[in-house]
Symmetry: C2
């Protein structure tokens, strides 16, 4: 077989059904698809290919899948920290969004976010925001794979001043992008049951269903949301969404921090997936989602970073380590969420949560070649007894050396090939200067 | 004034009493001491010096202080994860220590740990282990500053087969190293109240006091330890140590996870410091230390990584981010442990906890020049509204570009100047191969 690209001399952490680890192997890629995942025979040269990547004994694994984020919010990284949620939103995030979010700033913020994700080994992300056309155009420039949703909320939003038009906006966006770009899958994102009416939630879900797309929604992020829902509707947020009939296998619920056993049973029964964002939930003091309980109930739980404003980065290596440790201490069980489980959450379960498990999430023949190579020749990765443990507990974003999406090299030797990062940093710094001036002006 | 070295064109995060941040400044160093911390005047060239380091607009800050670790355990990084504590210790760590820990392996493991710490911005560490002579010799080769203790435990230990000799060993070690090397301060480390008799604890503390040295002890790490202490002695671990009269300002207590209000009052009254190890406590499912409560009681709480076997790295940037987020979610208070507080814990409070606050922990004239420079020109650090927030919530170990200890450059452009890291990695991998073979052999 003729390969377009071959990655050899690596430890293959396949994340296949048997969680096979091949201590010395190679991967062959043809037309963007993985066509071989093989053990290297002694003294065998790697097969011929137009592009040969030597993993130098490092780890070769599927790219990470970030299933919950808001890309343009990279503009607000560290703008306001250590504040109560309401103060943070109402005094900082919402006013800054109203003033500075437009298609141009969204475009530059998205490029910055994609640069950060690609450099840190994330090859696919899922999320939503406003001006999503601009988001999708920016992502398409970078070579990242993404499921991208136009946000729906019953308040005036950037680009959607009239909330009665929110469904139309979202549907039009999704129609435009459906089938337009192989790497971009449109989606529809209802902000939350407490910011969207029953009618909006049902209409948005119907629009997603009409187009066969993923429906996303923030659910039960805070205790306040859960308590308010019970007080006003007599139902938990999950039970409320269930009553509206919008829970099914094409629904991805972000957060699910405040869910009880009945909610977990409901989510499991409908086959919804949950995007778990441990660092955002910790930083905003929202709570600790019952991840081990949800997984035991058979729910697909994936990982997400959330937006940069509440994290403050888009680093799935960080989320893996945090998730693995957080749920051990939360359950007082050091065997909870072992390394292999967390590795699945960040790869194949992420792919499953966003409806792409047939295409990505593992190193298996027939799948898209979304692959990262980790440089393990570093003090903090020495020695190495178990590669999967190292991925979760010791490796970091900066150890990602090469990144390929759909067979296309996008990061080589830690350098972005598809983004002029110096220009993007300068453009984002220009926007940040404007934001800072406006804040300083307000303070005077 | 003639400077040996000048670091200029940086954002100075001083961690001085006023937490001053100088947005464009320079630091002058003479004979290893900080002699100037100044605002750069427009169009002013940096002062002349034999060595001029351009921070390129990055952050210049005091080196991080890791106040609890066991350096040679880097050899066991990721050897066994996701296990119950007793199984982990008895079936993996203790047998491997008994078989493979000797002065030679301790030396190579320590060099590896120092390489990891220096590269990640830690300029001073504090901890203890066995064969501490070999540890101290290795640390001295690397240029890292350290407080290093010989361990005391009432069981046969590496290098101390007869536990009745444990105090003699520790005292002899401490005497040898007192005043021997400007960067190495000896100390004595009693393992824990549940592994050391009352007599051993008192004798070890007396030996430390005789020599005017820091006394270290693990305290109340697990609920089991606390419950057992109450059952057997009728006292919590802290109350037990108090009754023995060994709590004072020269006592550093590691962990303190299971301490109640009375314990906190006791610790505060005696002026002991607490080394908080959030990631180790999470990974081993020990619990969440009441850090906000201890800080409110006026206790100096510093940060530590613990040993590599339970973490699995020596990364204080990781610990800062984890501590800041963990205590927010643990207290449901997003304002808890703000960025500035955590930054202090990792620097000046760390220095205070180990008795070196007059020498290190901040950028102030008269202090030792233990300084790191962070490269902020990266997607994940763009934009930057608040430098202190970025240090805690967005920066990572790999962003450390230059490191100076006592005025001596030890890392330059991310490369170690004092350690042949390739040789160290090879030597550690040799030891790891032996360990792996013995495990595989046992399994057959």
């Amino acid at each position: 077989m003729d390969f377009d690209a071959v990655i050899h001399n690596g430890i293959l952490v396949t994340v296949d059904q048997r969680m096979r680890i091949i201590l010395k192997g190679w991967v062959g890629i043809q037309a963007g698809i993985i066509r071989a995942v093989e053990v290297s025979l002694p003294d065998m040269a790697p097969p011929d290919a137009r592009l040969t990547i030597d993993a130098d004994g490092g780890i070769v694994m599927p790219g990470l899948v970030n299933t919950h984020t808001h890309l343009p919010m990279s503009l607000f990284r560290g703008l306001a920290d250590d504040l109560p949620l309401i103060d943070w939103l109402n005094s900082h995030i919402f006013p800054t969004e109203a003033r500075f979010i437009n298609p141009d700033t969204v475009h530059r913020g998205t490029l910055l976010a994609c640069a950060e994700m690609l450099l840190s080994g994330t090859t696919c992300c899922c999320g939503g925001y406003f001006h999503e056309d601009a988001v999708a155009r920016a992502v398409a420039e970078t070579g990242l794979r993404a499921v991208l949703a136009q946000g729906v909320i019953d308040f005036p939003a950037p680009g959607v001043p009239d909330p009665t038009k929110n469904i139309v906006h979202a549907r039009d966006y999704a129609r435009r992008w459906k089938g337009l770009n192989w790497l971009i899958t449109p989606s529809i994102f209802c902000h939350a049951p407490y910011t969207c009416s029953d009618g909006t939630l049902k209409a948005a879900k119907a629009a997603a269903d009409d187009l066969g797309l993923l429906f996303q929604v923030h659910v039960a992020e805070t205790r306040f949301e859960r308590d308010q829902s019970i007080k006003e509707k007599g139902l938990s947020p999950v039970a409320h969404l269930d009553r509206l009939g919008i829970l099914d296998q094409q629904t991805l619920m972000a957060h699910c921090v405040w869910v009880d056993d009945a909610d977990i049973a409901t989510i499991s029964r409908h086959g919804c997936a949950v995007a778990h964002c441990p660092e955002s939930n910790m930083k905003l003091a929202s709570g600790i989602a019952p991840v081990t309980g949800m997984r035991s109930a058979g729910i697909t739980v994936s990982l997400g970073t959330d937006g940069c404003a509440s994290n403050n980065d888009l680093d799935l290596f960080g989320e893996m380590g945090t998730a693995a440790k957080l749920h051990k201490v939360a359950t007082f069980d050091p065997t909870a969420l072992d390394a292999a489980s967390v590795l699945k959450m960040a790869t194949i379960d992420g792919a499953r949560a966003i409806g792409l498990a047939d295409r990505i999430g593992s190193l298996e023949t027939g799948k898209q070649a979304d692959i990262i190579v980790i440089d393990t020749r570093a003090p903090h990765l020495t020695p190495m007894y178990h590669p999967d443990s190292h991925i979760v507990y010791a490796a970091g974003r900066a150890d990602v050396r090469h990144v390929i999406v759909a067979g296309r090299p996008v990061v080589r030797d830690r350098h972005l090939l598809t983004i002029d990062i110096e220009a993007v940093i300068d453009r984002v710094n220009d926007t940040a200067r404007d934001i800072r001036s406006s804040i300083d002006g307000d303070a005077e």
